[in-house]
Symmetry: C2
Subunit: 194 residues, 2 copies
């Protein structure tokens, strides 16, 4: 297999999605972010908005609670069902083509492959707060609270499904502070490793 897959995990507001998109453009390969969401929606039969909203929630109360309260498809909770669909799609995509995959535990799902590069993007709270206010506007909650909530949810989701720590330095081939290095420099470094 000659192709390579780049997975990008990122703190909320760090610009990881933008970096992924630009890396893919630079390399002339696909970037699965929104595209993956659409595929998951299509395959699962669930609405894209619902997946986006619920996709990073950890099933509450564990397997047993879910089995009774949140039961839906094939006896799985909605989250677990989404996880199986997502996992299947990511494995299929990785077999089929070179690409960048943003989030969705792709680093874990594809781990052990020789042709994968796992990336983590982070930035300081201040820089991320600036960024989300610039991109998504002000909300009732402070940007800091929004960042903390979202990161906590991502970390919880990741840990639940992978039993590994999200953002643990040893889990990534390269980790970059996009606030200090800048988006363009991050793109150049990642693309140079392809």
């Amino acid at each position: 297999m000659g192709h390579r897959i780049i997975t990008i995990s990122r703190e909320f507001g760090s610009g990881g999605r933008t970096i992924g998109k630009h890396v893919a453009e630079k390399l002339g390969i696909s970037c699965y972010d929104n595209e993956l969401l659409e595929k998951i929606a299509e395959e699962s039969g669930l609405a894209k908005e619902y997946i986006q909203e619920r996709g990073e929630y950890t099933p509450k109360g564990g397997w047993l609670a879910n089995a009774f309260s949140d039961r839906s498809l094939n006896g799985l909770s909605v989250q677990d069902y989404l996880w199986t669909v997502q996992r299947k799609l990511i494995l299929e995509i990785a077999e089929k083509e070179s690409c960048v995959i943003v989030g969705r535990c792709a680093d874990y799902i594809l781990q052990g492959r020789a042709d994968i590069l796992t990336v983590f993007i982070h930035a300081s709270m201040e820089q991320r707060a600036d960024r989300i206010v610039r991109l998504y506007g002000e909300r009732e909650d402070s940007p800091e609270k929004r960042l903390r909530d979202k990161d906590k949810r991502r970390a919880g989701y990741y840990q639940f499904y992978t039993d590994m720590d999200w953002g643990k330095i040893q889990n990534y081939h390269i980790a970059l502070d996009s606030g200090v290095l800048g988006i363009d420099r991050c793109v150049d470094i990642i693309a140079s490793l392809y």
Copy 2:
């Protein structure tokens, strides 16, 4: 200030020292590793071997215990005394010249400067075990135990003096897996950010 300082923190056996040396050579700047040890020895009046051996030990039992059991110079424990000497020298070096500094909490001591790049180098247990056996030979303890002991000591030392977590992804501008990327590629990436 036009100069830049690169600090390299590293897991034992990850090749971080070698990377630091090569980056400095490539950029034509000094690399403080052994050189720093010699300066600390000179300034402190303690033997280099003693500093090397004890330099990464955390004072046992905290300040109070030390004050009575390990008291030595100016009422400080040897470790605390070494820390103050080390801190002073690192600040002096940073004022004076562009350089690479390996280990010794330089990232913490110099934090907040605009002209610093903080790097963390890590690699898988297997690759580090291979490396230390190749470089330092077999010992009575297994390579895995030696790695675990040394990393634990570094993490403990770092945490004791900085109150921050060693190897926490957010503390470094760039973190690289030298086992997957290779020493040369790590050198190129770091040098390109200078």
